[in-house]
Amino acid sequence: MKTIDIIHDEHRALASVLQALRFVVGEIRSGKLQPDFRLLAAMVDYITQVPEKVHHPKEDDYFFPLLRARSAKASALIDQLEAQHRDGTRMTGELLQALIHYQSFEASGFAAFDALLQHYLDFNWQHLNLEEGELLPLAREALSEADWQALDTEFSANFDPFSGAEGEYETLFRRIVNMTPAPYGLGA
């Protein structure tokens, strides 16, 4: 079940950036850190690009349709997850707008960015938990060995969340790791 390993890997990559983003924004909120907009932009870019370009298309195009065809029980859950994918895209777009506003208006723009981010973090943890806790166990029950092989082929053709098709996300991820202040990253 390479498919499940790939989903887990992508969730872990996203979760690690989300956790670091929560830390950085929390430090800004408490006055311990000055905003580094290059870092914030890189983080928002990562949590926008990787789900949209890497993670969700595989689920939406291959995993969800196959599971829907095999399990009537999964249908409502998949409806909910597909709606969350759409909401997630909208929310990261709003987050990017709020970040631009924050950069332009500095301190007065922080509250709106912070509020949107906290909302997005809660939303995203719930989404990841729903996939890990409900979708994957259901898929393990419902899909046959042949189904998994077909999915594994499709999922393996996709690039990993760190490198992207041409290494673009690797550079982005490394920049985030190097710029995020310790102990969450390697930055000063």
């Binding site: 887990h8 670091a20 890990e132 310790a182 102990p183 390697l186």
Partner: protein, 238 residues
Amino acid sequence: MAELLKLENVWAGYGGSAGSVVLEDIGFSLEDGGSLALLGRNGMGKTTLLATLMGATHFKSGRMRFCGQDLAAVASHRRAALGLGWVPQERDIFASLSVEENLSVVARPGPWHLQRIYEMFPRLLERRANMGNQLSGGEQQMLAIARALMLNPRLLLLDEPLEGLAPLIVQDLLRIIGRMVATGDMAVILVEQHAHQILPLTQQAVVLERGRVVYSGASDALRRDRSRLDNWLGVGVH
């Protein structure tokens, strides 16, 4: 590939002949350039097994062959020269030396040299002039691994390299370790509690329970066996 390491019926522990036995009847082998995940819950003997390979425990009985030599007959201080590189949990980097000095001071001839290390760990290149005590935890872990590579070991022993690090750094290090293992320049034994993170990187796995081997086989087969993973490691759901 040729066999690099072979353990048969190894019993070892601490405190001399009257002391405690931690490892019981351990046996497995590793090929040159191979990779092995050493798994088990806390206190099951993983670190003791690495320490036994390095000669830091009381070896009671059994056979340990490394590069065709009887490893038990080699003094602990000579095992690094024989080709064993150990990255302990404590990291133990030299706080009063710069990053580059930490690396250069242990360098031995082989495929891993300063330039290649900096390609693998670009962060260390950026921090090359910083002292060891000026590094963050993640940077120290990178330096500890890089320093062991500069020894150009035949077998690298990594003891919980991800322990205590934030998820962002864990993801970065996992990727570096994956690349390192894939080079096949040396064999690697990787101790880790988070099986799901290292099984995809290794060819073989050994699971210890109360000092005994309960699984020795392909990492891929273990990764797919959720019930046994859950039973031995409590990682069935991830």
